[in-house]
Point group: C3
Chain length 342, copies 3
């Protein structure tokens, strides 16, 4: 399986990183990360070039990392600065490093050609900086599935009625068609379910007494960051698309990080315009989202096992595939560009 390498992927939340050595596997490459004394995070290939021991089996010494086998030591630029038992340093004694950016409490790593790493292209959301909104970091959800299937699921509102019938969806939306559009590197699939009972989630959160208008906007930013804008408002208010802030509105954000061909980590968080000072609301929302996301995991892992047994990925195409298909086509274009450059 190929991966888009020239991209920023999330390696975790800021709180996950300290002066301890932390390991990650992203696009099938093992890296080790740690904070220098300046608190800057550095990322090195997790492999000593001498005998291939993961550097994470060694230890941090000041702003360097020392291999646990023979003590070869590398600084944050990947340069070898010490070989015990000899004075000269072999010219090829260096390890690859990766660009790291920490922003809004999120740690991003660029896994491809470092010269193309542009921090200004990193995903952000205006609401991160808006005091009327509250951002809350969730879990690192491990999924035994190929990441493109995980990401496709996040530009596919139609699955909600069947995978999450008691949490995020219900039967009222089963046959509501899905709209799809593309704007630059963002593919959006959305639909409104007007004048229906609130789903489980908004029964708990919205305090609605009657029918609601519910929306789902799935924005999938290439290569694999999804922002799911969903919410509900009293149907009596007949709100317009652009007035979603007047309802209960939540952005569930999924940073989908490919581990390898068979594994993915979904770092998820949410941003909300309700109960912004209420920690117990954050916990309740985590609990509800965790339950829903595990419903996705069961489906995605079953599909992964099934694809590995089968010779073709998909046999029948239906209307609701429009978002996923647009996404897959864009990814293939990116892979093509990288393959040509290599």
């Amino acid at each position: 399986m190929a991966f888009v390498e020239n991209a920023w992927y999330v390696a975790g939340w800021s709180r996950d990183f300290s002066q301890e050595l932390v390991t990650r596997t992203i696009v099938d490459q093992d890296i080790v990360l740690f904070r220098k004394s300046s608190s800057e995070i550095v990322a090195l290939a997790d492999c000593c070039p001498h005998r291939l021991l993961p550097l994470s089996k060694g230890k941090r010494v000041g702003d360097t990392v020392q291999c646990g086998y023979h003590g070869m030591t590398f600084d944050g630029t990947g340069q070898c600065v010490r070989v015990p038992g000899q004075d000269n340093l072999p010219s090829n004694a260096k390890v690859r490093t990766f660009a790291v950016v920490e922003q809004n409490g999120i740690v991003w790593v660029w896994m491809g050609d470092k010269t193309q790493a542009d921090p200004t292209t990193i995903f952000s959301l205006p609401q991160f900086a808006d005091p009327n909104w509250h951002a809350h970091f969730g879990d690192a959800l491990k999924i035994d599935a190929y990441y493109l299937n995980v990401a496709e699921n996040l530009v596919d509102p139609a699955h909600v009625s069947f995978v999450h019938p008691t949490t995020l969806g219900n039967a009222a939306s089963e046959d509501v068609p899905v709209e799809v559009s593309t704007d630059g590197d963002v593919i959006t699939a959305w639909r409104w379910i007007r004048n229906a009972p609130p789903v489980g989630f908004f029964q708990q959160f919205g305090n609605f007494s009657g029918h609601v208008d519910r929306w789902h906007y799935y924005h999938l930013h290439l290569p694999s960051t999804a922002v799911i804008d969903f919410g509900s408002a009293n149907s009596a208010d007949s709100i317009r698309e652009q007035d979603r802030d007047s309802g209960v509105r939540i952005f569930a954000i999924h940073f989908v990080t490919p581990v390898d061909s068979d594994r993915t980590i979904d770092y998820w968080m949410h941003v909300r315009n309700t109960a912004t000072n209420d920690d117990s609301a954050s916990e309740l929302m985590d609990t509800l989202l965790r339950k829903a996301f595990h419903e996705d995991v069961e489906i995605l892992e079953a599909i992964h096992r099934s694809e590995k047994r089968s010779t073709h990925r998909q046999q029948v195409r239906i209307a609701i595939d429009k978002g996923p298909n647009a996404y897959r086509k864009r990814i293939n274009d990116l892979l093509q560009v990288e393959a040509t450059a290599a």
Copy 2:
């Protein structure tokens, strides 16, 4: 590994199937089975043609099954009857179905070309319908081995002295030669051990005070149903072959269902002419047979691991291989026929 596909294989006992979705893997194909409201059992390929999710991850809705990802729904003929979010049904939206026959409390599935599925060829035994006999259903025994080795073991009376020395055999039979004959699709290997102490099994069941004449007839019906007719009678009675009903006579029946190249399920039951109204006798017999069959499992799984490490299956041929070799030759003929037709 190739499998004979044009054959009826046992998928379980009638009692194993209800309106719940039940899964099986037979000849390396995943199927999902359920009873319709008419109680008829249907079997579909366990794979939605849209995104390959196993249909068993969805749910039964009336006499149809609804996929758990996007709600595509299929009836018992495999035809798609609903695609949520669109009115038209894609012409290629169908799943393969398999012929199912329920007979004598046993559920059979035909895994190959459906036009060749002839229910009149399904294995039966006159004693199933005879009030002087009692049929009792046993377990689904999982064996991590290739099914042909499991079946060969069931046309091989010679192994009994060594694999089952305290249960079904004893030292008295070690050197008694085995007779083999073939009649249509049935290969039979048998021997009589005359005038010897009863083996463990018939010490418990026959209430014999002196020596017995013991017989073992292994009838292997192609492709993989084995009927082991074994019993004992007082040696003083000097019974003839055709008078076996006058002794304590048991048919241990093994329906050997190939799961995949490395796994087999042996659905086993027995039919007996003794203690026909005695449930505790059924339980005791299950206990004894279970113990003996686990002795087989240990040997068969060790051989399977050994064959996977080795480059040849068999190095030395000996006299008692006659039954197994005749069986393997007939199976190879069947595989040849199917390969030629395909």
Copy 3:
């Protein structure tokens, strides 16, 4: 992965073998061993030539082993002496046997061409027979790594400072260069760390009050027996190389037996010139060595996993590789000789 087959490998200690059937896998070949009534140990390929069942699933009968499937029986020379149910013995009914030598409480097996098996080449140590020394048998340490990496680690004193900083080494030795020499089939790497605090091991064993001179001599006998001569003496005594017996001196011996490409067993023991009549000293030493050797296991298994992910084994060569590189070259020469002969 290729293995040197024309070599004596340790299969265990004498105490591990009785009339019970014992199995081992050495250079990816399965063998079964047992003592005959004469107490001589025989080793046969653990595979019946009839249906490939491991003979170890059968039982010993006198000085023969009887297969657990159909009772074919083989003597200690590998010759078939019985086929139940028939009088003649097939001419190809034999199993391969392996030369076994028991010496100094250690059981050796020759895995290659039996005609080249020369017992006089088996490793020994004069101290085994010296009453001033005590030999104590340790454990069979299982390591999920390729055996050449395990052996290389045993001609590499430089790793001690980093892998065993609190047990066998300490920071004082980090930059002390390593000397390497070759004498016939023995490659030796060594160094002295003069006038330094005793390491953890000799704090417990030497009862030293001040600084010590510490030595590490790693003698690696082809293909994979390592004798690590290490010890300490009061620095005030300024002992010479040849006077090591006057200090506290220990031979830690590792018999590195390749299981397969991914697994190795290190049978380890030690011989010492201190506390020779003290069983509690043996136990304490086992405890200390066990802790240190598990530090090696963690490193070696991590390297093994890393090598399997990588396309090259080593990228950078440094000074302390001299011993390991000399060893690897000699092993490659041996493999070349065997490949040419085959």
